[in-house]
Amino acid sequence: MKRLLGIIKKEDSEQLFVNSGSFVGLVDNSQSKEFKAYKWQKELFESKEPKDELFNFRLGPSSGALLESVTFNIFTYGERIKEVYIDNSYKSRSIEKLMIKKDVFEGLRLAEQICTSFAFSHSCAYSKAIENAFNIQPSYKTKIMRLIFIETERIFNHIYVISRLADAAAQKVLANHLIYLFDEILENNKYLFKNRFLKNINSIGTIKYISLDQLKIFVNKLENIVNKFEKLYKFSLKSENYLDRLHNTGLLTTDDFEEFNFDGPAVKAMNFSLDTRSFEDLFDDFKPILEEGSDALSRMIVRAKEIFQSIDLIKKLLIKLQKNIDEKNKNISIDDDQQKRNTIALTESPSGTIYYYIELVGNKIDYVYVATPSFFLVKAMEKALIGQIFTDFTFTVESFGAFFSDAAK
């Protein structure tokens, strides 16, 4: 399964940033015909003008129905949605441009600000890229702790997405219980790191020192929260009303994947996986969660099962960590040697893989391109909404777990 992750434009040249399974890197733009996603990424749309008989229902950028500032141009015929165009430019902070000429350590803090919900994943992907460029080898302990916190991020993000989905599907009691659990995880994060969203704990080549006892308490609390979630989740599956709203809503096909190259639970709900954790040596026998429905319900089930999988992975990682906890943290410094370097790295965030392509001159960033999962999911969302009726709008949108700040950067 090939994916076009982005188009790297520099002066007059243009290259394609691609992932073809075993290869992640840049290729010549003469291969653009092989990627259907090239057309929309290049903004080569045939026509954005809707047909005369359609009504443009414009939702946003600021509305009670939306959490983030984004505009949905929904072209409808009666109650049926015929076309959707999402404008997330209100959220664009040009973070990639802000990174240019910045020191690699300043760049790390900007990477964390792309999207708080994936802050730790962004931080890991960015720091891995810089470590690759300067041949910095993070310790065994750092590698394991990063994986533990990426899985923690996955748990709280998935609970958040399911709570939004339950709220949209009029399951208010379930939604409120899940918000409580979401807040409890954030409090647990704060207890250990003084930050609710795991910001400022990862650094290039190292991670903040945490004692094994503290980490055990953290994992125990997390496990209790996941157990509470399991009760709620199993109970929610008895509600036929809830399931009926999500079943066959927001359907996607493999053709849609080829056209939009999206990733994460949206793909796993279509019974195939691009989960990069399969290649992670520290996970023994990792098997991605797969579902077959390709709809909002399958996406929700994938997320719920991933929560249970993540807590199991964390417990296994904790056992591995116990043997190596005494490793001391290193102070990493990077000299400004004015050498040119290119680097690529990736991390599996809760909603798909995050890729960083960075060009460096010495210890300063010269160019950066970030392929975020939400960038692709927003296009998948547009496609999945076509043919739905208005009532299904919120279930479809929330089922993707996309963040517009992540997409707009």
Binding site: S63, Y90, S92, T116, S117, V173, N176, H177, F403, S405
Partner: protein, 150 residues
């Protein structure tokens, strides 16, 4: 497992906060209707506002309600320093608010336009580096009890 309402009642999620309140009668007499607008944030503040809906914070007991339009709001909360494109949207939202109204500003990063340069009127609170739900709730209760908005 019990039915939803019984399961919920058995949990007792609500937390007792030690905020200074005038007296219980005043708290329930006054209510504060809040509309929040995303200035283009990295979603941290949005998620914290979403956390405020947790039964733990029991917002409605303090007389605080979220509205779906600025026309029904007493306070407009601007989450994060706005992007250039969000500025006219924010100004329009403020112009739609009924008098008397207040504007509360919350910022958590150094990206975006400076609030100080926007000359926004009726600013009743400006929180910097306070993004946790407890801090936001405390400030909202202070505004509700300050007598400015009833």
């Amino acid at each position: 497992m019990f039915l939803w309402p019984i399961y919920g009642l058995s949990k007792k999620y609500s937390k007792k906060f030690e905020f200074k309140t005038n007296n219980s009668k005043t708290v329930f007499k006054k209510s504060l209707h809040v509309f929040f607008i995303d200035g283009g944030s990295d979603v941290e503040l949005l998620l914290e506002f979403y956390s405020l809906l947790s039964p733990k914070y029991n917002l409605h007991a303090y007389g605080i309600f979220f509205t779906n339009t600025p026309r029904h709001a007493d306070v407009l909360v601007i989450l994060s320093r706005p992007t250039q494109k969000m500025l006219p949207i924010i100004q329009e939202a403020i112009s739609q608010m009924p008098s008397p109204y207040g504007v509360m500003l919350i910022e958590n990063s150094n990206i975006g336009l400076y609030f100080e340069k926007l000359n926004l009127k009726n600013v009743v609170a400006h929180l910097k580096n306070v993004s946790e739900p407890t801090g936001i709730l405390k400030k909202l209760i202070e505004i509700a009890q300050g007598g400015l908005i009833c």
